[in-house]
Each structure stands twice: as structure tokens, then as C-alpha cells.
Subunit: 406 residues, 2 copies
């Protein structure tokens, strides 16, 4: 974990807590009832950094957003729809994404290349553009403004909105970093049907903002999994509009690490909220691997455990079946010495030096009943450490995914 | 698929169809009610070839079996228990496996190193050896002989016994290849809680038997998955006792390919039976990838699709959500051109040139309702082809695995 310094969490903080950002959302008809069109707007163009899905199929909005950012590494407005991913829709789908961008730019009276576009939902169906057009035309109306509308508008099978914000001091000025996200199903290392939007009034040069985002993403959003699938639409977008009055942040700035830690906190908390709200999940699972030969090995093993259907179902059943944890370590492909492995279903030690330790079944079941189930593995080899987050696998996951499209 | 030549399937054939093999099983108390101790015996020492799990944790019986085969590459008897994997049990567990081997060798009056040992079941608990001893002591009794007893004794959460046999001619002599297997949960490419025993009266030099087994395994047992987990206990063991009177088979023998095809048929059918009987499964899913740049790429993509929880739940829900198939191709990590991809939920084409094709929902749902659901992907790039097998993901998978140990 990063050290936190004097970074303060702000209750209920989201993407509009930082100076100069507004957001809103409405229902335009892509989903039956719930809001399905949202936006974020910055009073001035903001330095923009984004990371995208690694899926070979990249949805149309990602292509458009990449183009926008490429022009001057700045974004002033973001438009997001849920209910339809606009993925695998070919040239017509790409044209739809361009039109969304142009229509939103016209509403705001800004240049097209300052607008980012994101979509999430069903793959392979054309966007019903007449609904999108009607929605965008109404997007400036007063009743649709408000960050809670935005947070709802980006959800798919999520059961709750997701936001987190912190404040810290840079050059004696308070700066804010706040984010909102959606996740739920198809969440996997390398980001899947996961959208996260982070805004800050910090003044950061774009190349350094991107560098920070990439480093932080590897330890946060890329360490969560729900079902091992990786979607076509994921994007994490950070906007820094520089409204806080301080010296531009670069790695040379004395407060650079603080800023990165603040960004990491926001990303980590959003990632955990996404994992906790995984489809059908009843509990958050946090797996920490210590004593690995390298951080990469620690990540590989943590991901193998958190990705195991058998571990996930055992947690759901409150079954201290540590054999499945050990087994996942074994097939992770990482090198380790089985005889040195210690496993805890925190606080209960279940395996020591690779062998079972006798424990009270009820203690382990209590640990497995916690809102957050913490599994700790110590390979007792080196300094490599990593944490991954996921959720249990339940009847409701099957229910949701056997019937999602129909 | 391999060409079949004049290889004949033999209905109900199993590990005792080949000349000179017997088998049996009984209940010794490792499981509540069902049989849990089984054996195969050959009238004479048989050339023995085996492949084992890739899991870094190797169960005690695998270590013992490796040692046995190492002595003279021959095995005459196999003892198998279910209900307890004897894995992660350290030196004491290893001593138990050695004792199982010795006791069985004494019963048969053969040398210890001619006995192979296999176990499947819960990880990390000591074998109740008094029960195993009592069981082995009774193993020669008449009422416990019979291959159907053996097939039952090796099962864990399997719902049905698994066997397949073929006959073919070598040098004008009929030879038999027959097998029995168990699988169910924790089945994944590279073999997991999967045990398969194959016997033949063919005369094959051991190094060539091992070579054939390895080649065949990559196209059969290593192409099935149920839940992506890879266990500590898997083993596929082939015994060739040479009772059929013909020239020893080597790659130079004119009937070598025929023999390999026969072996491949037995392995493929056993692998499919294992996939079909995956925990909670209602249907077999067969994924064939064609037109890949290489066979390896085809395998990678076929495994990504068959391993996708979202594809598996969609099949369970008869939901022609082809976006999940395309998505799995996309994150397989293999190189391909999205614009050239064709996808069929046989016989319904759902994607062509990377774009959705309009189809009758009821046709696709009918295809998804078949006992075997066939998904066919054509990358239209090269000659690489591969087939993988799996099953749908259902409520019962959760039920079985949330409650397996307790």
C-alpha cells in the first residue's frame, strides 16, 4: 500500500468536487427505465490521460476518444452512454460515436476534439441514435444537472453507484482528486466493462499525468477480477484542469509522490467498490501475496487465487477449503517453494510451511463471513508483494448472466 | 480430427476389454456410501506411460507412481482411491502412498515398483489408512471384481461413469484400446482432478507409447475445461501388456498411425465425457477454431472461448450473446484480424467479417438447446485448427462447490 501522508478522504466526494467540474445525466431510452446518458464538463480544457482495454476488439467510442486526446492532450467534456456498448458495430458504429461527440460539442459550444466518448452495455447492436440525439439535446436542461445523475447514468448491472474523493495540499494549496466508476460483470485484470472517470483541479503536465495513471492502474484497476473476462469498452480517464493555483506538478515537484498517492487512493477505492459490486457478489475478497521473488510473481499468484471459481464459490459457501487456495498458487505458473508457503484466511492460519494447520472450523467460517474476506499468502522467499480484489461466485452471477441479454 | 480408418468402437468397452486385464472396486469408507477404492491388474507387467498435472503441488501418489514407472517403465497393477486426494499432506502423506503401494503389491504378490497409485478428492487431509488397509485386504474377494466397480470407485462429484474402447487391426491381429476416467470439477487444460486409465493388449515399446500419449493428450485431455482450475492429482496412465500377438509397434511400423488414431479416439471420447459431466453441466460445448495463423493460436482462442464464464452462462441461458464469444477471441492474446472473423453457433452464422449477421433468435436458441452446443470460429487467416470442449456454467456448479467440503 502507498503511504497516505496528509491526504484526506472527502465523504460523498465524486467527479464534481474538484474546482470547475460539472456533471449530469438523464434517461434517453437505451435502458428500460434507468438513466443511460451522462456527461462531465470542465470550465476549461483539462490535461487528459487515459488507459484502455487490452481487448483486440476496441469499441468505437474508444477509437474516437483516442483521436480527441491525440489532438492536444486535452479534454473538456465527456459523454457516456450505458445500455449499448457500440462495439463490433463496424463503420456505422464508428460514425455513431463521431456523431455523439459532435452533438455534445455543439451543446457545449466547444471543439469536437475536446470531447471524449464512452459506452457500456450490450455488444454488437447499433446505437438507437434518435434516442441519443434527443437525450443530448436535453442535456443542458437544469433538472438533469447533478453528479448523482451522472453516477447512475453510467451503470449497467451495477447495484450501486461508485465514487471516492480525496484532498491534499500542493504548494500550500488544497487540491481535490475525485472519481466515479461503473463495473460489475466482465471485470478482469486489464480492465473489462469498467469505466472510471477521475477529475482533479491539480495542475499537472499531461505526460506526467499519463505516467502516474499507468503506474497506479497496474496496482489498482488491473488487480481486480470478477469473472476473468476482459471487455471491449474499458477506459479510465483522468482530467486535470489546473484550477488549483500551484506550480505545475512534475516528478521533480516535492509534492509529486503525494499527488500520486492521492490518485492511487482514489483508483484503489473505486477498484474495490467495483470488485465488491461484482455481479451477484455478496462479499469482497482481498488477496495479499507477500514474500514473493518479485512483485510480478506476487501479482500473478494473487490474480490466480482471486480468479479461481473454486475459491470464489468456497468463500460464498463459507467453506474454509484452503486446498483450493493452495491449488491456485500451484497452477499460477509462478516459481515458489511449496514447503515455505503460509496461508491465512485472516486472522486464521490454515497452512504453514506448505502443510495444513489445525484450526477451529467456526473461526475460519467467521472469517469467511466477513463483509471483506482477507486471504493472505506468504511465500517466505523475497520482497515481492501485491494485492488483488475480487468477489465470491454465487447463484445470482449465473442468474444475471444467463439472462442478461434477453 | 484424426482420420479413423477401420477403427471400431466397442459398446460398453472399458479397461478390461483388452486381453489380460482385470479390474474391481469396493467401498472402504473414504466416502459416505459410494465405492472409493479401485484397482486394475494386468496378467503380466505392461509397458507404462503417464502424463501428470502441471500444478507445482504434486500429490503424494503421483510421486510414488513416477518412482514405480522409473524402475523399468512397466506397471502391472494400479490402485486408486477417491474421497481423499492425499495432496499437501507432506512426508506422512507420502508414507501413506508408499504403504498403499506396498499393501497392494503384497495382495497381488508382485514387486512394489510394478504398482501405480492414484488418489482424488479433498486436498490436505491425511488418508484414514486403517480404512484403506481394510479395503485393500478385501480387494481380492470375488464379489468386488468387475470393471463397473472400478469405474464407480474412481468418481468424486461425477454423476456418471466414463469409459470408451476401440478395436483395430495390427499385423492382421485385432488389438483393443480401452479406457475409464473420472473428472467433473477442477478440470482445465493441463489436466485437473482428472484421472484416466487406458489399457491395451498392443505390443508397444515404452518410449514410443509415451511419445504417442503426449501428442494425443495435447489434442484431447488438454483441450477440455470446466472451471479453469488445475488440480494437484491428475494423471493419465496407459498400460500396454503386449498380449496381442504382433510385431512391436514403433513409428516405423505401417500400422503406427492407426494405433495412434485409436489411442486418440479413446482419449478424445473420455475427455468429452469428462467435459460433459462437468460439475452442474447441462450441455457439452464444443468450440472449433479454424483458419488460425497456427495450431497453437487456434488452441489459445478455443480455450479462451470455452473458458469464458460469460459464454458458459450464456449457453446455459440459451442466450445467443455472440458478443461474449467475440470478446473472448479478443482477449485470448492471439493475433488475428477482427474484420475477418466469422462465428457460428452451429448451424447459425452470427458474425461475419467481424460484424453481426441478422439471424432468427429462435434458430440460435434452438442451436443453444442442443445436447452438444457447437461454436465454430473461422479467422480466415491460415491453416491452424483446434477443438476444445467444455460445459455450461449453472446454478448447480455453485451449489456443488459452495458446499463440497462441508
Amino acid at each position: 500500500m502507498n503511504k497516505i501522508g496528509i491526504i484526506q478522504q472527502v465523504e460523498h466526494g465524486s467527479v464534481t468536487l474538484a474546482k470547475g467540474f460539472q456533471a449530469g445525466g438523464l434517461h434517453c431510452g437505451l435502458k428500460r427505465k434507468r438513466k443511460d446518458l451522462g456527461w462531465i464538463y470542465s470550465e476549461q480544457p483539462a490535461a487528459a490521460a487515459a488507459v484502455y482495454t487490452t481487448n483486440a476488439y476496441q469499441a468505437a467510442p474508444l477509437i474516437v476518444t483516442r483521436e480527441s486526446i491525440a489532438v492536444e492532450q486535452k479534454i473538456q467534456g465527456v459523454v457516456v452512454n450505458s445500455g449499448n456498448a457500440n462495439a463490433c458495430t463496424g463503420q456505422p458504429g464508428l460514425a455513431d460515436a463521431y456523431e455523439m461527440r459532435r452533438l455534445m460539442a455543439d451543446q457545449w459550444g466547444i471543439e469536437e476534439h475536446l470531447v471524449a466518448v464512452a459506452s457500456t452495455g450490450v455488444i454488437g447492436e447499433r446505437l438507437p441514435m434518435e434516442k441519443v440525439r434527443a437525450g443530448i439535446a436535453q442535456s443542458t436542461r437544469h433538472e438533469y444537472q447533478g453528479v448523482e445523475h451522472f453516477e447512475e447514468a453510467i451503470l449497467t448491472t451495477d447495484t450501486r453507484t461508485k465514487h471516492f474523493a480525496v484532498q491534499l495540499e500542493v504548494d500550500g494549496q488544497v487540491i481535490t482528486i475525485g472519481g466515479a466508476a461503473k463495473g460489475s460483470g466482465m471485470i478482469h485484470p486489464n480492465m473489462a466493462t469498467m469505466l472510471a472517470f477521475i477529475t482533479t483541479d491539480a495542475c499537472v503536465e499531461q505526460p506526467f499525468l499519463l505516467k502516474a495513471l499507468r503506474e497506479v492502474t497496474d496496482q489498482t484497476f488491473n488487480m481486480i477480477t470478477v469473472d476473468g473476462d476482459t471487455s471491449t469498452n474499458d477506459m479510465i480517464l483522468v482530467l486535470a484542469n489546473g484550477k488549483a493555483n500551484h506550480q505545475p506538478l512534475t516528478p521533480a515537484h516535492p509534492d509529486w509522490e503525494m499527488f500520486k498517492n492521492g490518485l492511487a487512493m482514489v483508483c484503489r477505492e473505486l477498484a474495490k467498490q467495483i470488485a465488491r459490486d461484482g455481479e451477484g457478489a455478496t462479499r469482497l475478497i482481498e488477496v495479499t501475496v507477500k514474500g514473493a521473488p518479485s512483485e510480478q510473481a506476487a501479482r500473478g499468484i494473487a490474480k490466480a487465487i482471486i480468479g479461481s471459481n473454486l475459491v470464489k464459490t468456497a468463500v460464498y459457501g463459507k467453506d474454509p477449503n484452503w486446498g483450493r487456495i493452495v491449488c491456485a498458487i500451484g497452477y499460477s505458473g509462478e516459481t515458489f517453494n511449496p514447503e515455505q508457503v503460509q496461508v491465512k484466511i485472516d486472522p486464521v492460519t490454515v497452512v504453514d510451511q506448505g502443510l495444513p494447520v489445525s484450526f477451529k472450523e467456526e473461526d475460519a467460517q467467521a472469517a469467511l463471513g466477513e463483509e471483506t474476506v482477507t486471504i493472505e499468502v506468504n511465500l517466505n522467499m523475497g520482497e515481492g508483494t501485491a494485492t488483488a480484489w475480487g468477489c465470491d461466485l454465487t447463484y445470482d452471477y449465473i442468474k444475471i448472466n444467463a439472462l442478461y441479454r434477453t
